[in-house]
Amino acid sequence: MSVAPAAVPGAPPASGADLLVVDAVTCQFGGVTAVNAVSFAVARGELFGLIGPNGAGKTTLFNLITGLTAPGGGHLRYRGEDITGLPPHRVAERGIARTFQNVRLFGELSALDNVMIARHVRTRSGLVSGVLGLGAARREERETRERATALLALVGLADRPEERARNFAYGDQRRLEIARALALEPELLLLDEPAAGMNAGEKRALSDLIRSVRARLSLTVLLIEHYVPLVMNLCDRIAVLNFGQLIALGPPALVQKHPAVVEAYLGDGA
C-alpha cells in the first residue's frame, strides 16, 4: 500500500509560490522576548533549515507556527490563509505536522497506535459509527491500519508495530515520531532537531530519509538542527536566529560565511 497522498495538494513546486509566510512575528514570555519580529517565507518544496545557538527562539518559532503558543504580534500565513492564533489541531488539519525537540510520543501506546492516531484528521468515522462497526467505519479502520503499517516500513520500523513506543531506542523513537507526523499527510513538515542523540551512521540515514520523503510525498520541510554539517548538506536555504532575531537568510554557502553568523556561534574576537 503506497503512502503517497490521494491527491497531490496544490501546484507543483514553483519559485514565488510561498507555502509558509512568517510576517514580523513576535513572542514574549514574561520579560523575555523569545522571538523578535522575525520574517521569512518558505517556498513550496523547499528544504528550509533553521539554526542558531541554544535559546535563540527556534522551537518557540515552531510552537508559534503550529499554534501551541500565540504570537504577541505579527502574522503567520499558510497557503495564503492567515493561520495566526489558530489552535494546534486546526493547524494540523490544514496540513502542517511536526516532531518535537524532546520526543513526545504516546509512550504507553504501541508504535502502530502512535502512527494511527495521527490519521485522525484524514479520517472521519465518529463515535457512533465506530462503536457500531458500520461498514464505512470498518473500511476506514482497515485503511488506517494499512497506511500506518506502510509508514512504519518507510522509516524502517516495520518489525515491531505492537511494541510500546517508550521501549524504543532514542534514535528509533525519533524515526517513529517522523512516521507519526507523516501520517497526517502534511504538506509542510516541521522537524525539531530530528538528529539529536544519533550517531554518524544514523544521521546519514536520517538525511537520506528526509530527502526521500520530501521527494516521494512532495513535502516542504522546515528543519531545526544543531548539527551544522547535516543542515548545510541537506537544506536549500537556511535562516539563522540569535536571541530571537533573524540575523541571516540564504543558501548554505553564503550563510556559513556571514559575519553575524560566525560571531553568533563563535563569539566575539574569534
Binding site: F29, L68, T69
Partner: protein, 315 residues
C-alpha cells in the same frame, strides 16, 4: 437597607469568614510548599476537635466503640486546645509519612496525591466516627465571666457579635501575621519558599527538604486542630463529618484566594463568609451552595484566584 442591618451582616460575614480563613491557612500552606491539595486537612481538623474535647476531660457519648470513655484528667480549655492541636499536628505528620511521602518520592502527579488525600480523609473521619460515634458535642465554656456578645452598634440599634466570634477573628488575624512573617522574613521561610520553587534543587543546595516538609505539616496540622476546636467552641462539634464538609468548603476558599497564597486564604475566607452572610432571606436554604458556585465560577474565569498569578506554561 439600613446601616445597622448592613453592619450586622458584614460582621456576621467576617465572623464566619474568619473561621474559614484559619482553616484555609493550613490548607494553602501545604499547597504553597508542596503544590498538592491536602484534603486530609479536614480530617485533621476533626481529630483536633475531638482530641481537645477529650483533653477537657469530657465524656464521649453512647455511640462508637469508645462509648462513655473519658480521660482520667481534665485540662483547662486553653491547654486542651493546645494539646488537641498538637495531636492534630502529629496526625498530620503520620499521614505525611505514610501516604504522601511515598508519592513524593515517586514523583507522582498532584492529582494522584489529591485522590490519595481524599481516601485518607474519608478513612480517618470514618475511623473517628467508628470510635466516637456521630453525636454532637460541645466544650465546657472557657469564656465564663466574659460577656456573651459585644455590641458594635449603639444601645438603641445594637449590632451584636458573639464574643467567641470576636476571639476567632482575632486569632485568624494573629495567625495570618505570624505565617506571613514566617514565610517572608525568616530563614526558614526562605527555605520553605525555595522548596516550593524546586525541591530537587533545594535539596542539592543543602536544604533539608524532609525536615521542612515535616515542619509544613506540623504547622498546617496545628492550625487545623486549632480551627476544629474553635469551630467546636463556636457552633459545637457536629459529628466527624463536619471535617469533610469543611474540607470541601475549604477548597472553595483556597481557590478563590489563590492556591498557595497565604493572605489569599484569609481574603478568600472572608469573602466567602460575607457572601454567605448576604444571601437574601428567601434563598437561605441555598446558602450552602454559595461557596461551591463561587468555586465553579472562579475556576472558569480566573483559576489562579484573586491574589494568585496566572501560570504561564512553557511548552
Amino acid at each position: 437597607m439600613n446601616r445597622t442591618f448592613l453592619l450586622q451582616q458584614v460582621l456576621n460575614g467576617l465572623a464566619i469568614g474568619s473561621v474559614y480563613a484559619i482553616f484555609a491557612l493550613g490548607y494553602t500552606l501545604i499547597f504553597s510548599v508542596l503544590r498538592i491539595i491536602n484534603f486530609t486537612h479536614g480530617a485533621i481538623f476533626t481529630i483536633g476537635a475531638y482530641a481537645t474535647y477529650a483533653l477537657t476531660g469530657s465524656q464521649f457519648g453512647i455511640n462508637g466503640l469508645l462509648a462513655g470513655a473519658t480521660l482520667p484528667f481534665a485540662l483547662p480549655f486553653v491547654l486542651a486546645l493546645l494539646g488537641g492541636s498538637v495531636v492534630a499536628a502529629l496526625s498530620g505528620v503520620i499521614v505525611e509519612r505514610l501516604a504522601f511521602r511515598p508519592l513524593r518520592t515517586r514523583g507522582a502527579d498532584p492529582l494522584l496525591t489529591l485522590v490519595s488525600s481524599l481516601g485518607v480523609a474519608v478513612a480517618l473521619v470514618n475511623i473517628t466516627q467508628y470510635l466516637f460515634g456521630a453525636e454532637p458535642y460541645s466544650y465546657p465554656d472557657p469564656l465564663q465571666g466574659w460577656p456573651t456578645a459585644m455590641n458594635f452598634g449603639t444601645a438603641g440599634a445594637p449590632v451584636l457579635v458573639r464574643t467567641v466570634q470576636v476571639v476567632i477573628f482575632g486569632v485568624s488575624m494573629v495567625m495570618l501575621v505570624l505565617l506571613t512573617y514566617l514565610m517572608n522574613a525568616t530563614r526558614t521561610g526562605k527555605a520553605l519558599r525555595a522548596v516550593a520553587e524546586d525541591m530537587t534543587t533545594s535539596s542539592l543546595l543543602g536544604i533539608d527538604t524532609d525536615r521542612l516538609v515535616l515542619l509544613t505539616f506540623v504547622i498546617s496540622g496545628f492550625l487545623g486542630g486549632v480551627t476544629g476546636t474553635l469551630i467546636g467552641l463556636s457552633v459545637g462539634v457536629a459529628g466527624p463529618y463536619f471535617g469533610i464538609a469543611f474540607g470541601l468548603k475549604g477548597l472553595a476558599v483556597i481557590v478563590l484566594g489563590g492556591l498557595g497564597d497565604i493572605p489569599g486564604a484569609v481574603v478568600g475566607g472572608l469573602i466567602i463568609g460575607l457572601a454567605e452572610a448576604f444571601v437574601p432571606a428567601q434563598y437561605i436554604a441555598y446558602r450552602e451552595a454559595v461557596p461551591f458556585a463561587l468555586l465553579f465560577v472562579v475556576l472558569l474565569v480566573r483559576p489562579q484566584g484573586l491574589l494568585g498569578r496566572a501560570q504561564v506554561q512553557k511548552v
